[in-house]
Symmetry: C3
């Protein structure tokens, strides 16, 4: 690909270099070779620029470099531009429409013609599978599910009855969409009486679900993952939660039931969110924290239970010396109170 075409595709402008330069792939500064385009987003990697063999580089506005033997594409956001280049050089494989003879598709299901349905996939009654969908081997789609166009469902995943999957979603391997919520009433004999889980799960468009993640159906109504939200591996989403647009939920985080996660919220790894609460837009919970209260928009929260990250940093610093603090307190008491107590 010519440099000029790459600039157009990545919304960047050529600052140094011939428009006709051939770019053949992408690579990080340290491993790039002739023909590669690279990028600098984090200033800590600036020293690698002196050594890189890359033919071209994306740079943020205002960032200067010392070399003039590398083509420079100037971008508003070098990392986004580089990602767009990667997506060009490493595109998703094209759909090669086929339905494997071992796939089991209920005759009442509606399946578009340009889909891949791989070996031993099972699709239930009254399902609707849109164009460009790829269903990998050993996937199970229960009755009444709809899958939007260009969605990929990886092997071993299960989508339970009546769930709705949007367009351009990716569901990774062995994930479960629509398992029963964990709801019981306690009887007089102290047994657990299962509450029917009659709802469903809706994934809107452009949602990605990692591997081995479980998203429970609502007891009544919907568990809803909104447009553009991204969920990592081994995440638990309890019944009746709502995950708003562009939220990012990292691995092994868990949400109890009926919580609402705002737009662009970031829940980092191994976070816990109790039931029936609201995390405001753009809030962040740092790794391993947990909240049983609402979180205001934009806050960065840490700890178990979580409070403001700034305060938590001070508290955890002091905690390392808490044993010593306890000793110092006893010493003070002895001096001040003597034998009084």
């Amino acid at each position: 690909m010519k440099l000029v075409e790459l600039a157009q595709r990545t919304d960047s402008t050529i600052e140094i270099g011939s428009p006709d330069l051939d770019i053949i792939s992408t690579a990080g500064l340290d491993i790039a070779d002739t023909g590669d385009i690279s990028f600098l987003a984090n200033p800590k990697y600036t020293p690698q620029i002196a050594e890189t063999k890359a033919t071209a580089i994306f740079l943020n506005e205002g960032v200067a470099i010392d070399r003039n033997d590398i083509a420079v594409l100037r971008a508003k956001d070098a990392y986004v531009a580089y990602t767009l280049a990667m997506r060009f050089f490493f595109p998703d494989p094209e759909i090669k429409p086929f339905i494997h003879p071992t796939a089991v598709i209920d005759p009442t299901a509606t399946v578009a013609s340009d889909v891949e349905i791989h070996a031993n996939a099972v699709i239930g009654a009254k399902c609707s599978i849109a164009g460009g969908v790829r269903i990998m081997p050993n996937v199970t789609i229960y009755d009444g599910v709809s899958v939007g166009e260009k969605t990929t469902i990886h092997s071993g995943a299960s989508v339970r009855e009546n769930c709705e999957i949007g367009a351009r979603c990716i569901i990774h391997n062995n994930s479960t969409i629509g398992s029963d919520g964990f709801g019981y009433a306690k009887t007089e004999e102290k047994h657990w009486l299962k509450i029917p889980q009659t709802g469903r799960v809706v994934l809107e468009d452009d949602v990605e679900i990692g591997a081995n993640t479980a998203i429970d159906r609502a007891s009544v109504g919907e568990t809803r993952i909104k447009r553009g939200a991204k969920i990592d591996n081994l995440v638990q989403i309890g019944h009746s939660c709502t995950i708003d647009e562009d939220a990012l939920i990292c691995s092994q985080t868990g949400l109890a039931g009926s919580s609402v996660i705002g737009k662009r919220v970031i829940l980092t790894g191994q976070v816990g969110i109790a039931g029936h609460l609201k995390v405001g837009d753009d809030a962040v919970l740092t790794a391993k924290s947990a909240t049983s209260h609402d979180v205001e928009p934009g806050k960065i929260m840490s700890g178990i239970p979580a409070f403001e990250n700034r305060d938590w940093l001070r508290s955890t610093a002091a905690f390392r010396k808490l044993g010593e603090m306890a000793q110092r307190l006893r010493k003070l008491e002895k001096r001040v109170f003597g034998d009084e107590s």
Copy 2:
């Protein structure tokens, strides 16, 4: 269904309303419509009673309401009565006996006639599948497994060799029952030598296992989940554990090997239980706590490591100001000791 029949089925009594009133479904107070029966269990929802369009309502004994245009069913426990009503209006689907032609059943397996074996399920040698069982697509049952009557195993689940599943169990999607315990001996060369895991897992009757949960077989003997215990999604049960009757284990909780969880114990979300310990009957561990010691019956424990919840609440409140406490301590020391130190 007539109100009088519903009262009988839910062990409640008609206080207001005609026995002939038709009830057609269940719904929460806020979304109920004509024909629905609703309930009030938590006093905080009392204001919704003024607005609800429900035709009937379950009320606990002693709870009064201001309206006389709603039928009232009086119950010992309104939530249990409502759950019974939900179970009536939203019953599990009836078994429609069939064995899908793509299911692979070893000829030495014993399979009752009134079962559903769905597409691409695989059942090993010498298995025993009782009446009313439903095995969904892409389930794998290894050799020597028995499955009790009316149990449902959802798609993608695996039950390993020689495990025993009781009656009326539900195993959700992609869960693993009977994987090897994590046991190794360290050799002189500091390699890990795998210890054979020769035991099995037993689920007694009325056990429910969530999605993507892993229950390891015992190294010797049994890992046993007793009658009525309920286990959520993404839970880890290590080898040789015993989970006693009616215990409730919430999502992403993990148990190392050989621990014993008492009757009606509640382990909430993301709890950790070390190996070889005992959690007494009716104890509760709050979310994200962990214990490496035995827990006495009935205790509520929190923290890492866990101690009594009442004390933990005080400690965590103080922890938020620990940075400030450290400063105040230094100020006191300066005043009291001056330049001594």
Copy 3:
């Protein structure tokens, strides 16, 4: 098996007992019966020796017993010797080569003759399956995967495109090897733009992966699990991590991307490791701890964030009384400062 042969196989020597004694199985001291060999490794079980019905026992050097009616095999490490005996009496089942007619194997795959390929397994294009491999039902192997000799892949597991699995590995049920790393660039509109994950996962020889574990492929290059590392159930390994030889990673632990875990490191249950850091050889993180910094070789670390275990034990002991400490501090301030503040 004669005692003399067992001694040879377990690198131990007969101290008491006839070389011709028949040993028929292994069992713990408390449940052993005539014909069993048992072991004593942990001194706390010494009292069981008086009661055991075992015919023979492995003892560490220097450990004496009071009975002379039990055969004694003296070993450098009684637990390793006992494990070797267990492995002899409970061997892995022999391979009985077959390819089930419902398995779907791409014609371009290379499959050795002495393999077990069970029902409904799916093997993609250009895969290479070595001798002695066992692929259980409903496994999915994507295109371009190689599986080394004598490896077992359990039902429901998925191995994604181009991954490489070494010899004598065990992958337990429903695990995912090679799902996409969790990587996005944030666009100007604050949407998440997926970064192509072009790398792969390599499991070297003798690696064991638990059930329902997810190991992400590298964005570029490799996620690599080195020779002899053992990974438990429900573990998350992020993209581009390296797990060095003989590391042990317990259940529900999670690693963000690009971290390097040293040789023989032990990450116990529910540990969290942030991205781009290094845990030195032989370090240990105790249960539920988390680090966002490098860990020096050999250290034992605890807490969130983790610091040295010895200090953490003192801090957590003081933490139990932190509410009381806060009160005592106020009392001191009142006495020392009076009404000043």
